[in-house]
Symmetry: D2
Subunit: 355 residues, 4 copies
């Protein structure tokens, strides 16, 4: 492999007064790769290390082959504590184990992309650390990192549980109703996800021959993201106790989630539109419209589009976002920006793929 022309100038000239040193655990997976694609162009981040057990010593671009020509970074099997933020891009269950086995100083902020700390009852961790050669017990408590729900808390947080992809898409479609106590009937949701939502491991349902031109339902009524969605809705509307019916589909595309949501409501069309517009007024990535939307409008961006309609006695919402960006790594960087006092959109004005 030949990199004929390494980038000699720093692609990320320092704009503000500082650079955030970032470490990444599990850098060889989809969310790790997507995080790298963002961070190598983020003007206020230096990547301190990208950890991968299976790829230690290899160039980043040997795994994330699109990054050839962009970076000479290599994966490492070693960890450094000299960082400001640690991103955990490991499998569900492995984030908690990693932090227990590898205590980082409390000064290092953590953003976890797994589901390990999303639910309130599992949102903290205690582990044995060493402080000035003294064994001590330390703990971390995680804030649910959905900026449209918890922005102020995120700004103060040291540890973030980054929301799930379906969970982000569906919550963004429902939060304004919950915040105004307008969730008063059963909720009906169908959502279709791209193949990247299932990760890079090989499975019969990720085989091209099977998935191309195909569609299928899975985990109907049982998807694990319903739990975090439920917690967020009752955070805003504690009395909400109606069923949320969720039918997830596998789509034959790679990126993005499209959700259609409806429920009974006495609100008028204008009231619903105003409610959503007001709720998201200060949020730079979530946009409300009454026009027809389609999935590709947001692919390869950190944006979420929400189409709001009234159909008979139903509020009808369509919510679209990129599962790897607003649904994972993009939102992780959005959270990092908030935690470090940066403009929320820094490094996240991504060119849409569009086609």
């Amino acid at each position: 492999m030949i990199v004929n022309n390494s980038t000699e100038t720093d692609p990320n000239p320092q704009v503000g007064g500082f650079k955030i040193k970032a470490g990444i655990i599990g850098g060889a997976g989809y969310t790790g790769g997507e995080l790298l694609r963002i961070l190598i162009n983020h003007p206020q981040v230096d990547i301190a290390f990208v950890h991968s057990n299976s790829n230690a010593g290899n160039y980043i671009y040997e795994v994330h082959t699109d990054l050839f020509g962009d970076t000479e970074l290599k994966f490492t099997g070693e960890l450094s504590h000299q960082i400001d933020v640690l991103f955990l891009c490991v499998g569900h269950g492995d984030a908690r184990k990693f932090l227990e086995a590898n205590p980082f100083p409390q000064s290092v902020k953590v953003i976890d992309l797994s589901q390990d700390f999303r639910l309130k009852e599992k949102s903290s961790i205690s582990y044995q650390a060493t402080d000035n050669s003294q064994p001590t017990t330390e703990s971390r408590s995680f804030t649910y990192g959905l900026p449209e729900l918890n922005r102020e808390a995120i700004k103060q947080a040291d540890n973030i549980a980054n929301p799930g992809c379906f969970a982000t898409c569906l919550q963004l479609g429902l939060l304004p109703l919950a915040a105004s106590n307008n969730l008063n009937s059963e909720v009906h949701i169908t959502a279709t996800t791209g193949s990247t939502g299932a990760g890079q491991s090989l499975a019969p349902t990720s085989h091209f021959t099977w998935r191309n031109n195909n569609a299928s339902v899975y985990k109907a009524f049982d998807h694990q993201h319903l739990n975090e969605i439920g917690e967020s809705l009752t955070q805003l509307q504690p009395a909400f106790d109606k069923p949320v019916n969720f039918i997830p589909y596998r789509g034959d595309f790679t990126r993005g989630i499209i959700a259609s949501i409806y429920l009974d409501s006495d609100l008028s069309a204008d009231e619903v539109v105003k409610l959503y517009s007001d709720y998201y007024a200060g949020h730079p990535f979530t946009h409300v419209t009454t026009r027809n939307i389609d999935l590709k409008q947001i692919v390869n961006t950190n944006k979420c589009f929400i189409q709001v309609q009234k159909k008979g006695n139903k509020v009808f919402i369509i919510s679209i976002m990129d599962n790897l960006l607003k649904g994972a790594s993009g939102q992780a960087v959005q959270n990092m920006n908030l935690m470090f006092g940066l403009e929320e959109t820094t490094g996240l004005r991504l060119k849409a793929a569009a086609f």
Copy 2:
């Protein structure tokens, strides 16, 4: 264009005692083409003519290019009354106009693939004809051609209104409940259709650049097929008066419809499975299962698969079929078979595309 090797032997040797002479109006469109693909291999059909105004004089294979090598038939601009059955593959609204302008003898059975005669209040037509040089008024009355609902009536019918594609898929998912008076709550349906459902005319939503890797909702709660679905359900369960909510999606595949359907029910899982299995026991194309299904299992066949589950207090149904076959031209041939006393499956044991 060179057909180097015309088929010299009759590909459809006469098996039973007769051949049905078929005429096709609107043979250049998707449903016309699909009908031709079936009929040229149907052992008891001779194609008398394939009418197309725009393509008169051209070889069939110049439009339906996959038929090159299979037939030397040409489109014609002329009509012949020397047929047993007439298939109308024209646009919505044009079937009624065609029959008014071109009265065929009553001895010619008609199978209309448009929506013109599907609803009971529009299911008949009167027109001026000429009988032994005497002007007379004739009329035709259409039977709704869903064999799983009306098989005995179809066998006796002279005129068939072939159901819509979504309408077929959704009714097959609901008929057993209606037939047993078990539709007792609001019904929630989401269904995704392939691009052939929109026909061959060019439109922004049929542009490859737009549709590839995309997904979108259209006509939510308003799809025109809801009317014929409603008539069938109340035919079986006259008291049914609950809303049927239907969210149609455009999928980024070419063939097939997948529908997910749920409603509240006190039936047990076993009861639901038995109910569906019993209802479809005598029907050769509609198959009930408790296994997970996926769209491509039925693509390029005349089959419908129905997956039945109980989830909490909900009956949950997934229904899949090929919109051009069981949802259009295949069902039209199935109806023809029934009308002419043939085995229902004749000419319809099609090899699935599978991949």
Copy 3:
């Protein structure tokens, strides 16, 4: 799993005077499945057994899920010698091993879909058998099963080496030139194959996330099928000794191969067209045209379309066929038909998927 409505009538009523009893080894793979899709509707075949070590005892439709409703056959781990023909749908290298370990009576014809016996120097096998309790050495000698090259020999053959998919597509594009001693310059070929060409095993290049909307080259100049192509060309034109350059591509579709081929030639356009038309005049599946062709015209059929042009001093050929049908299982049945004296097209008039 419930099969609510088993097919009570024989879907394959006997037409001629006999039924061929067929056994299938390796029935759980892609070519095995495709063979089953053809044979269950073949009017003169009874499937005696479908062998699969990994799926013994399972219903066929549990693996080839599209066959649900079509057959109640199960995979078996046992072999029977009471058959007329044995299809080997196993991996390359395993066909030879299977025959050595499981000698079948010489009266059983063998059609092998692997590459084990395609090349002349490897086209026979000897093994220890038992004849009337006496150990004997038996042997089988295989005929290369490309009907457009070897039809008369196939009719006399007891053992067929079914050609490779690329090999079939490229040979059909070149045979008329070789047969007329018109291969007189270097040959340039690029061909793109669908994902089914790589079989059903999971691999990074078969992952939907990777392959969707992607394209890539593999085995450039080195593809193993070049050997069997070379043997066929020199069978017809022994003096041919020019390089055949072949660049294979992976396409982001599931079925089909499209090849573009050119070489220098003094032949006129008319001469080339005549040459191809004459060569394929008696062959029912291979059709020559001067119109533009596209891959989907032949998907899900046993046909090969060949577009012939002259461009400057080059003969320019485009050849398309379905890799699983004319490139594998369809051609295997075509060979069986020839071997047993049936009409060559029996059971192979398949409805094109078309879209």
Copy 4:
């Protein structure tokens, strides 16, 4: 349509000492949209106007719907001369007409994305202008805007003819050989393009139903880009007079071109690799490798990857790039950066779509 949260802060804070005022003609097409996606995030560009006759008065995001939330710009039917650079994103033939009908001051630089000025004999234009109310004849002479060929000339140029998409991909695959006088045999090229290469107009070959899972050849040996390729090759190697055979394919993906190229050569593998690496050493977007590449590695970036191999006596090259970026709008901005003395990569470090 509601834009609930307009971007209040300037997304493009001025970094260097100036902002380039840009006007766009034909902003509603694919290349116009892609240019807008780049320029709204380009740190040293202000978009002065986006001209569209058919969309005057509409928001940009009504056409380029992915830009909703990113910009409140509208299309205009009016032109302003108060700009530094004018991008022409109009159809072939219309760029020349536009400049004749709308003379801009000579101080305004022009970058034309059509083919009107690419060939040397057509590379200049004269038109009637008005200078201080005096009618004068002015002229513009265009430089071929391929930075890897003409970077120094581009830096000095006032008018750029932006190369064609295929032309860029193929030239980048061949330039190092021409520059070293190593094009000494016939050249063989096959290249496949995505659907965006054909623009947004509706055509049968851009219909999703037709193109999905399909492949086809067009304009074999006759593609119009061969002319500009030929001029560039002889600019570097004036004696080159061998045929360049080019077979273009339509692929069933939206973005990107993949080309495979070979020719006879006495160069060793190492020599070829060195030759390519040296040639592109100073060019930030074109990267040379000996690893296997695949199309999606460069989709949604301005990069070109070139895989170099020696196969027998052939040099074998694979070249991949995004037809709308490096093959059109991205390269146009690259040219603008060079013309205005900016770092070549400014605004062009785009996140790859990757999947």
